[in-house]
């Protein structure tokens, strides 16, 4: 058994993990573990921008940003956390610029900003230019820049180490177990504190913008350790995924003037959101597209609509949206300057995740009791700054602000904390999971079970939900879990056994799908990204509360946690 000792372990090397590493490794011995190389992390695919009220193009205030975030999240946002995020977004963006991030610039040389869905001036009056961007490669630039700073600071990395278990001792985190992908060996990382920054779980759906590796490993690992997951019923569908592939086309395309059109050529968003139109928040646009398609107004009656950029100046398309131009040319053979782009909603972002307080400390119950030595940040976490629906650009704000906070908190914690003893046989659970997969006698394959899960989740737990479908989905997950036990791996080797990793990932997706559907079934209202056809209205009297899902005796048990409301009382959400 290989045991490594560090003060702190950071799991995941996207924007949140790397930002945390920069903070935590100032004065503590920190290791960053990732199942990928850090530069492969999904932060790199974020396109349109990072929101911050710099006011470089027109007046803006962080309070307006906070209001938009709270309203965008359909009032399920914890306002205390949203205030932290929107205030600190401003200094955060300056810090990224200081680190060398090559933002696009205004003619005066300042950071350029553009409009984005749901971001407004004066509490909803009109769109505001708030998204700070680097063409349509903002995430790429963030990931590269923060990684560069980690190189400068000499951060210790364990690349291609897949973390599959959390170790706890007397109710506190004391390490993780990882599979070294190159050798297949298990490693125990013994530490005073652990921070999870493992990203999302979009691969539970068939059509998704998420990387093949976004399988919710961190969330599932926490859940399996007996800790709760928060608000998992809220999964965002981004309105503009490339038809059939799900590849993201940034909201920045609509920020630059792009328009959604149905099969009759109508600008249908005028009917759904008269003020913001195509710049309405993502949940509303995705629902509108779905309804247009259902009512026969998809393109040629099919299940997609068009994103129209043809009226934009070709210079704007080439200079401000070069990557999405490349994507539609590569994958669809379309020139967006002259042709309409077929799009459909694509599973994009988990608003829910590992519950934390605004210091990025993981909490264990509805009273928000922190777990000593355990932190989470970024998409895998639920602070909750996104509530029931995240606004565009706020994921990047979230990873930087709360990655930094979590790293700082962890760094301070390990200076005072003592190293807890490891539990007996720390690798036992992982060894047992591996043994089952190698020694299984069935004929099931990872790919077949995963394909069915993704298709069924798309059909039954997507943009719209209804009780009968959700119940069916739970039964399907139950049977897929049974079939999972019959998996027998073809690859019997140790080195780079990708089939083994995918089996672990599928195990995680099955757990998270079960949690998502159970939470969705219990929430008998429609709020943000969670739209129940059988309960079409928001119900503040009964459901203005966060869901906490626990694994208890192999089942999902639900409890609820109050929402922090400080500045903005819930109102009807109109745009």
């Amino acid at each position: 058994m290989a045991v490594h000792q560090f003060d702190g372990i950071i799991v995941g090397a996207g924007g949140a993990g790397l930002m945390a590493a920069l903070q935590a490794s100032q004065g503590a011995k920190i290791a960053v573990l990732s199942k990928l190389y850090p530069t492969r992390s999904h932060t790199g695919t974020a396109q349109g921008g990072i929101g911050a009220a710099l006011g470089n193009m027109e007046p803006d205030k962080w309070e307006w940003h906070m209001f938009d975030t709270v309203k965008g999240g359909d009032y399920l946002v914890d306002q205390e956390a949203a205030e932290v995020m929107c205030r600190e977004a401003v200094e955060t963006v300056y810090e990224l610029e200081h680190m060398g991030l090559p933002f696009s610039r205004t003619p005066e040389g300042k950071i350029a900003q553009r409009p984005f869905g749901g971001h407004t001036k004066e509490f909803g009056k009109a769109p505001v230019k708030r998204a700070c961007y680097a063409a349509d490669r903002t995430g790429h630039m963030i990931l590269q820049t923060v990684y560069q700073q980690c190189i400068k600071q000499g951060v210790t990395f364990f690349n291609e180490f897949h973390v599959v278990d959390l170790l706890m001792s007397s109710g506190a985190a004391c390490g993780v177990v990882a599979i070294e992908i190159a050798t297949g060996e298990l490693h125990t990382f013994h530490a005073k504190a652990v921070l999870f920054a493992t990203g999302g779980s979009g691969r539970m759906y068939k059509i998704t913008s998420n990387a093949l590796t976004l399988t919710g490993d961190g969330m599932a690992t926490i859940y399996r350790a007996g800790l709760p997951l928060e608000d998992m019923e809220f999964f965002q569908f981004h309105p503009t995924g490339i038809y059939k592939m799900g590849i993201l086309i940034t909201e920045g395309a609509r920020g630059e003037g792009g328009i959604l059109r149905n099969g009759k050529g109508e600008r249908f968003m005028e009917r759904y959101a008269p003020t913001l139109k195509d710049l309405a928040p993502r949940d509303m646009c995705s629902r509108a597209i779905t309804l247009e398609i259902r009512e026969g107004r998809g393109i040629g009656g099919k299940d997609y609509v068009h994103l129209d950029l043809t009226h934009l100046d070709p210079k704007v398309i080439h200079e401000k949206l070069p990557d999405i131009t490349d994507f539609v040319e590569t994958y669809m053979g379309i020139d967006p300057v002259k042709e309409l782009i077929p799009i459909q909603p694509t599973a994009h972002y988990a608003m829910g995740g590992i519950p934390t307080n605004s210091g990025a400390q993981v909490i264990r119950d509805e009273k928000a009791t922190p777990v000593p030595g355990l932190y989470a940040a970024g998409e895998c976490a639920c602070v909750s700054v996104h509530g029931a629906n995240r606004l565009g650009t706020n994921s990047l704000v979230d990873i930087i602000v709360f990655g930094r906070k979590g790293g700082k908190g962890l760094g301070e914690f390990v200076k005072k904390a003592v190293l807890q003893a490891l539990p007996a046989d720390p690798e036992g659970r992982t060894k047992a999971r591996m043994a089952k997969l190698f020694e299984g006698s069935g004929s099931e394959s990872v790919e077949a079970i995963r394909r069915e899960l993704q298709q069924e989740m798309m059909d039954k737990a997507g943009v719209y939900r209804v009780e009968a479908d959700l119940k069916k989905m739970l039964a399907i997950i139950g049977s897929l879990k049974e079939r999972y036990k019959g998996i027998r791996l073809q690859d019997r080797g140790k080195k780079f056994n990708m089939e083994l990793l995918e089996a672990f990932e599928l195990d995680h997706l099955l757990d998270l799908s079960e949690v998502t559907v159970t939470c969705a079934l219990a929430r008998q209202e429609s709020r943000g990204a969670h739209s129940r056809e059988d309960f079409p209205k928001r119900d503040d009297a009964n459901f203005l509360k966060h869901t906490l899902a626990f694994k208890e005796e192999g089942k999902v048990a639900l409890r609820y946690k109050p929402v922090s409301i400080t500045r903005f009382q819930p109102q009807e959400r109109k745009y």
Binding site: G44, L54, K152
Partner: protein, 233 residues
């Protein structure tokens, strides 16, 4: 759906003394990516196939490999645009660890050798540093690099001399050398002027063809050479 033929250079370190070719057929749509084909083979035909992949749309840089003799990202090539059988090999010049998976550590060591971060000597201002549109445009092309390794492993100078820092690292150096905010140019230029630096480039242009991000790598290398010749940026 149509049957698509693949011919893949396989190597399993736990079984094989050397690499060998294997043939596969899977059902795919013509608009599927070559990566979709490899995933289908791995998922439905042979679970032992190993490759790195993540975002599947040309941004994360995981799946550079040789496809029909040319360096490409498997996720940026459509099945219909390449001849069958589609031949698949790992990138050339790095140690093959298993199938398409190569040892990237020497590549990242070279990346680290060019001071790949903004060197700041002055104090940080309260707000952003100003940068004109022209100054920003000067290094735009090389900011696009995703460190996939396609350029370096297409370069005959690198094949001949594995110590050559290689096009990818020079692209990274260029990104900072031509950034008006950077204050580490001297140190970086020294690395570029080393015998394993920029002068190993013979302007073969393979790197330009290989780059999945459309970076004009040879031009960037030329600009670094000029800066060295002139002694200034």
């Amino acid at each position: 759906m149509k049957k698509v033929a693949f011919k893949i250079l396989r190597f399993n370190p736990e079984q094989d003394a050397k690499a060998h070719w294997e043939n596969y057929e899977v059902e795919l749509e013509p608009t599927d990516r070559v990566l979709d084909g490899l995933e289908a083979i791995k998922g439905r035909v042979d679970g032992t196939l190993a490759l790195r992949r993540s975002c599947a749309h040309g941004i994360c840089g995981s799946d550079a490999m040789i496809i029909n003799g040319k360096n490409m990202l498997a996720c940026k090539v459509l099945v219909k645009s390449v001849k069958q059988p589609i031949t698949i090999e790992p990138m050339r010049g790095f140690k093959v660890l298993k199938d398409m998976i190569v040892d990237m550590e020497p590549f990242f060591a070279k990346y680290r050798s060019v001071t790949p971060y903004l060197v700041e000597k002055d104090e940080r201002p309260e707000k952003e540093r100003l940068q004109s549109l022209e100054q920003r445009e000067r290094f735009d092309d090389t900011t696009k690099c995703i460190l996939c390794g396609a350029c370096t492993t297409s370069c005959p100078s690198f094949w001949a001399d594995p110590d050559y820092v290689g096009p990818a690292a020079i692209v990274q150096a260029h990104r900072f050398l031509f950034d008006s905010r950077d204050q580490g140019k001297e140190e970086r230029l020294k690395v570029m002027n080393d015998r394993e630096g920029v002068w190993r480039c013979r302007t073969v242009f393979n790197c330009v063809e290989a780059c999945p991000r459309g970076i004009n790598v040879t031009r960037a290398i030329g600009e670094v050479k000029q800066a060295l010749a002139k002694g200034k940026i």
